[in-house]
């Protein structure tokens, strides 16, 4: 369509279409740039361990599940996988439970201190958050939370909470207040109006921010490695075994780490810009 608009005269059609081919070529190259490495680690994960360490390598998988089996049966992996999932679910629950009410308050009320709260939330972005794990390690030992899943989930929640607040804030802002007012006139209390009118409309967005919190926790390496010993998550396990783990284990682990990323992006693609676009204001 832009071609049609830009070329009222037929003579101009040729250079434009050359530019178009150029654009298409760049788009394809950049798609390959993103996808090819993911394909290659999948090839490794779906090949037998001997093929993974062999030379030279083939560029397509043999669909041998030896590497995956080796990975799953490796001492500590199954437990680490389970820990990763549990910590991520705890993080998701905490981030939504604490973040959604705050997002609602920011979107619906004018009150003193609103700007200071927003500043506090935005400030968390200017700090290297994984470093929080250092002082918290001391606090956790004192309170008996050291090496616990909930302790790690609390640290991961500081990473995910600012986003949960900002996403739900923009989400509630996009739902007209008039709908709630209509419910009030029909005799609903604020809580009823929220439950029956706002929540159904907000649910997909809240779910997306939950998925985001899950992946934030799932992917986090530094705090997990510092804070857990017995209850290692998958990232902590893989990081600490880098020195001695055989290649097939690393690559199967890497591939398993990547899978949620693909699911995650598919689930939140509609909300991608309210996830990060808010940073514009």
């Amino acid at each position: 369509m832009s071609v049609a608009a830009a070329t009222p005269a037929a003579s101009a059609a040729r250079p434009v279409s050359a530019g178009r081919w150029m654009t298409i070529a760049i788009v394809v190259v950049l798609c390959v740039w993103v996808l090819l490495p993911i394909y290659l680690i999948a090839v490794n994960a779906l090949s037998a361990p001997a093929e993974v360490t062999g030379w030279p390598k083939r560029f397509y998988p043999s669909f041998d599940f030896g590497s995956i089996e080796f990975f799953i049966q490796f001492r500590g992996v199954a437990r680490a996988l389970m820990n990763s999932v549990i910590v991520a679910v705890l993080t998701m629950t905490l981030a939504i439970g604490l973040g959604a009410p705050a997002g609602y308050a920011l979107a619906r009320f004018r009150f003193r201190g609103k700007e200071s709260f927003r500043l506090l939330v935005l400030m968390t972005r200017a700090f290297p958050l994984p470093l929080l794990a250092l002082p918290l390690a001391v606090l956790f030992i004192r309170t008996g939370l050291d090496d616990s899943r909930i302790g790690l989930a609390l640290v991961h929640t500081t990473l995910a909470l600012p986003f949960a607040i900002l996403i739900t804030f923009s989400l509630f802002l996009s739902i007209p207040y008039e709908l709630e007012e209509a419910a009030f006139t029909l005799g609903c209390t604020r809580l009823q109006a929220f439950r029956k009118v706002v929540l159904p409309l907000a649910l997909p967005g809240i779910a997306a921010s939950g998925v985001f919190a899950f992946v934030t926790s799932w992917n986090e390496v530094f705090a997990a490695a510092v804070l857990t010993i017995q209850n290692k998550t998958l990232t902590a396990f893989l990081l600490q075994s880098l020195d001695y783990s055989p290649l097939p284990l690393k690559f199967a682990g890497g591939a398993v780490l990547v899978i949620p990323a693909l699911v995650f992006l598919f689930a939140v693609r509609k909300y991608l810009f309210s996830l990060w676009g808010i940073a514009n204001r």
């Binding site: 390598k57 470093l131 604020r190 986090e220 890497g254």
Partner: protein, 281 residues
């Protein structure tokens, strides 16, 4: 009356959480770094600086950030200008290009390890093309330059998507009329990009640069997976002192260095990319 107190009640849990798990730990980490045996001291910093790895780690971290962030900005600007102009397939292309958003730094490191390890895909490709008979070692301590280049590539691959999303969101805010006007006055695509897109995109570029630079100083697992101990970086040293050497005080001193650099660069970008009022759309 109800709605007077309600917003504060809704904000209370999130605020308390951030005070306990964000504000308090940062005070605590400063406290840890500046004390020893109960009194104020700079000993921890002395110990940090006198370690031979400190200078190397600081240099490597800064060098990585200085190389990666500008490349990333250029790449993301290219991607964003292309994707905003796409008519067909925009959503698919954007989905593919933002996949790395959900990939952890550890997974990214393992993905690129699969490509550049001794028996990896890159060497295999060269062998298949007849360019190589014996595998070359790209990631060893003898090959500091290729090691650095691979880390840069992995970081470009993994973390350009954040910049892309922020820029695409920003470009969406630029009114189409500006481009039409520029076109009427005979500005070509390049000139439109320089004279319209870039100035109006400044707030987004600022946000993206701050976000990415802070994250660049936190680089950790990518380097750990690709280089092991062959390439000291600040975050790796924090981990080393905290976990392997069990010296929390020196780790805290390192943490403060990272914090100081992060805040310094944030202020630098806030100052140099100030938005004057007339530049706002």
């Amino acid at each position: 009356m109800e709605s007077r107190r309600l917003p504060y009640l809704l904000l209370l849990p999130a605020t308390l959480f951030l005070v306990v798990f964000f504000v308090y730990p940062f005070v605590q980490v400063a406290f840890q770094a500046f004390t020893k045996g109960g009194g104020f001291t700079l000993d921890n910093f002395h110990e940090m600086v006198s370690d031979w790895k400190f200078t190397t780690a600081l240099r490597n971290t800064l060098l990585l950030a200085v190389v990666i962030v500008p490349l990333q900005l250029a790449l993301a600007l290219t991607m964003a200008s292309i994707v905003t102009r796409l008519k067909a397939g925009r959503d698919v292309v954007l989905y593919i290009w933002t996949i790395p958003l959900g990939i952890s730094d550890l997974a990214a490191g393992l993905v690129w390890l699969a490509i550049f390890e001794r028996n990896g895909f890159f060497n295999s490709l060269l062998a298949n093309l007849g360019l190589m008979s014996e595998p070359t070692i790209w990631l060893g301590y003898q090959n500091k330059i290729t090691l650095f280049a691979v880390v840069v590539m992995a970081e470009l691959w993994r973390s350009t998507a954040i910049v892309l999303v922020v820029l695409v969101a920003g470009m969406g805010l630029i009114p189409k009329e500006y481009y039409e006007a520029a076109e009427v006055f005979g500005a070509g695509p390049w000139k439109r990009f320089i004279k319209v897109t870039l100035p109006l995109l400044k707030p987004s570029i600022q946000t993206a640069l701050i976000l990415r630079t802070i994250l660049a100083f936190e680089v950790f697992a990518v380097v750990a997976a690709l280089a092991g101990t062959n390439m000291p970086i600040l975050m790796g040293e924090v981990y080393e002192w905290q976990f392997a050497l069990q010296d929390r005080k020196v780790a805290a001193a390192y943490a403060l260095v990272i914090l100081a650099i992060s805040i310094g660069f944030t202020l630098f970008f806030l100052f140099t990319l100030r938005t004057r009022d007339e530049a706002r759309a």
